[in-house]
């Protein structure tokens, strides 16, 4: 995905909360930090000089702990929050320069959103919630219901059309949220901690639904999360946010294998690396020994079982065209999965 075209480009985006953001902006540019701004000037630095290119038809994850500004960032993409300064370019248009009418059209047709706390309309049934976006677009009721019924079915809620959100579990409510967002047929999907309020098992379920749908829909998805496992699992690109600044961006493998600083390294050390690293990243030059042929994009964890079962404990790695480009042995796989700090601990002993 790294070389595909950019769909959303954020340039020099700043957001300062407080009475006089413009004066403070200059101070921030002159190097005043978030803490100083808070203590001395009583303003909150929400976002500081954000520059991000989000790939078209890919899943861009923005990860950060609470207070890092990730929810503020995603709300700038459809301008639910006005920036202090900056640009958000989508399909050659700057969202931050749109007038009210153009902005409404943009929100209706081109970017839909899924919320952490679902934000369903409690007085409407599942069906009525799902057609909400279409209703706003001005689509006729019959057609809207037909379209909505398809998406209700796709998220696995067929049979619940006449239920009210209050009668559904959290996971089911978020399926309604997802169906509502998908029904408008927007090609950008903004997901603000969409699965964070769900139980772990249901969260995995929802991630699978999203990934399955994405395989055929190829939407540009911006996904906010505070959970690194989730970020690595679903992200094509990940940006890590701290104190309103992007501190690293890259593919999941880049984040795990080359953490930019101790903060990120600390995050990534407890991660199951076998679920992130691909064979082509750790393979060695091809040899003439036999072994099953595995795709270079296969994850280490998935390959481990197959390689263990193969007689020579190795596998041949192929590229998209099916040519062998390298090999991995069982030892390579185990080393890739090991926690990075184990080596340093051995030295300490």
């Amino acid at each position: 995905m790294s070389n595909s075209e950019t769909k959303i480009e954020i340039k020099h985006l700043y957001k300062i909360f407080g009475d006089d953001p413009d004066t403070m902006l200059q101070k921030v540019r002159d190097g005043v930090t978030k803490d100083e701004l808070n203590d001395q000037y009583n303003h909150v630095l929400g976002l500081s000089d954000i520059n991000l290119k989000m790939p078209a038809k890919g899943i861009q994850v923005v990860m950060g702990l609470s207070g890092s500004g990730k929810s503020t960032l995603i709300r700038h993409i459809n301008r639910l929050i006005e920036p202090t300064t900056g640009e958000v370019w989508i399909d050659g248009e700057n969202v931050l320069e749109m007038n009210d009418k153009t902005l409404r059209e943009f929100r209706r047709n081109r970017a839909s959103m899924v919320f952490q706390k679902f934000a369903l309309l409690p007085h409407r049934t599942v069906m009525e919630n799902t057609i909400y976006g279409l209703e706003i677009q001005g689509m006729g009721e019959k057609e809207a219901e037909k379209q909505a019924a398809y998406w209700i079915d796709r998220v696995g809620l067929a049979g619940y059309e006449e239920n009210y959100p209050g009668q559904l579990s959290g996971g089911m409510q978020q399926r309604v949220g997802l169906a509502r967002a998908l029904a408008t047929d927007a090609d950008i999907l903004l997901m603000d901690e969409a699965f964070s309020a769900l139980d772990p098992l249901i969260r995995t379920d929802m991630q699978n639904i999203l990934l399955d749908l994405q395989q055929e829909l190829h939407k540009t998805i911006v996904f906010i999360t505070h959970d690194l496992e989730e970020a690595l699992r679903i992200g094509d690109q990940i940006a890590i946010l701290r104190d309103g600044e992007v501190i690293q961006q890259g593919t999941p493998q880049q984040i795990v294998l080359r953490p930019k600083d101790d903060y990120i390294a600390d995050f990534t050390k407890d991660i199951n690396r076998g679920r992130v690293i691909q064979l082509k990243t750790i393979m060695k030059a091809p040899n003439d020994k036999a072994g099953p042929e595995l795709s270079g994009e296969m994850l280490v964890e998935d390959a481990a079982q197959l390689v263990t079962e193969s007689p020579l404990s190795q596998a041949r790695v192929t590229n998209d065209a099916g040519n062998v480009i390298g090999v991995v042995g069982i030892n390579d796989l185990i080393r890739a999965m090991a926690r990075p700090d184990i080596e340093s601990r051995l030295e300490e002993l």
Binding site: N78, L80, L103, R104, E105, F106, R107, R108, N109, S112, M113, F115, K117, A119, L120, L121, P122, H123, Y132, G133, E135, I136, Q137, N163, Y164, G166, Q167, S169, G170, R180, T184, L190
Partner: protein, 295 residues
């Protein structure tokens, strides 16, 4: 040290001129605009008279049946339906049917007016903090000022009759409608509103599809309060010529007719309970979606 014990009052003559000035000013205003204002309210009067005649012309079993059907659809409770039927029957049996119909007609018109005026004002208040800052003290005055005080200018302006009575009742009964509409809309979940924004809803779409529906339980509590307060005002309004159950009560006070006062008073209570139960249970049914297992 006189100034410490004697309050620095306005001189007697100045005071008299001051009062006279206000009285004269209002009298002039009445002379100039009284007729215009009266003709402005003429359609309202005609409607009120028409409704009263209609109710009086309705055969009593039909009226009771209509109330029962309304009660059933609003509450789905047999207890409320039977209770309403029995109390209405007793009211008629004790000779108060005609007065009751007059009272019902003025309550209906007053409630319609309060909703028609109160809803938009409440919505306006909820959308603008400045509007709220202006309207709230006015509502405070309307709710605390003794009703007799505003009866004076109303009577000066429009004389004695149904319309001034109606206006007095509306002034007294409209504040809860406005307040609860405002409150209801302001209490709508911010996250749901954000979702509406995110899907590109226009302000009007947000109001009609999200804010008003979600505020309905509160708005309905306002309607209920409005009805209750206008019933409470019926006796005072009868002092300026509103017909209905209030007039016999007034007569009973001045002549010490205990039974007459008690019966008519109880009829007002019965009406209040019927209206209250019907509108309250309807308001509750509006929230049925909040039931279920919750989050």
């Amino acid at each position: 040290m006189d100034w410490l014990t004697e309050f620095p009052e306005l001189g007697r003559r100045d005071m008299r001129d001051f009062r006279k000035g206000i009285d004269q000013g209002f009298k002039d205003f009445t002379r100039t605009y009284g007729e215009d204002i009266e003709s402005f309210f003429e359609p309202l009067l005609q409607f009120l008279i028409w409704l009263e005649k209609l109710l009086l012309a309705t055969p009593w079993p039909l009226f009771i049946a209509i109330v029962c059907v309304l009660a059933w659809f609003a509450s789905r409770s047999l207890k409320i339906v039977i209770g309403s039927a029995i109390s209405l029957f007793l009211i008629g049996f004790l000779g108060m049917w005609e007065d009751t119909m007059s009272t019902v007609s003025i309550i209906v018109v007053c409630t319609m007016l309060c909703i028609g005026l109160g809803l938009p004002i409440g919505i306006l208040m909820s959308r603008s903090d400045r509007a709220q800052a202006i309207v709230t003290p006015i509502l405070d005055v309307m709710q605390t000022i003794p009703s007799f005080v505003y009866l004076i200018p109303v009577v000066m302006l429009l004389g004695i009759g149904k319309v001034p009575g109606l206006i007095a009742v509306v002034i007294y009964a409209i504040p809860p409608m406005i307040r609860l509409t405002n409150l209801g809309i302001r209490l709508v979940d911010k996250e749901v509103l954000e979702a509406a924004d995110a899907f590109g809803a226009s302000p009007w779409q947000k109001l009609v599809q999200v804010q008003i529906p979600l505020a309905l339980p509160n708005i309905f509590a306002g309607v209920n309060q409005t009805i209750m307060m206008s019933l409470a005002m019926v006796v005072i309004a009868s002092m300026i010529g509103v017909t209905g159950l209030g007039q016999p009560v007034l007569k009973a006070i001045s002549n010490q007719y205990l039974a007459m006062g008690l019966l008519n008073g109880l009829a007002i209570v019965a009406l209040a309970i019927i209206f209250d139960r019907i509108s309250q249970s309807y308001g509750k049914r509006l929230q049925s979606y909040r039931g279920g297992q919750g989050e």
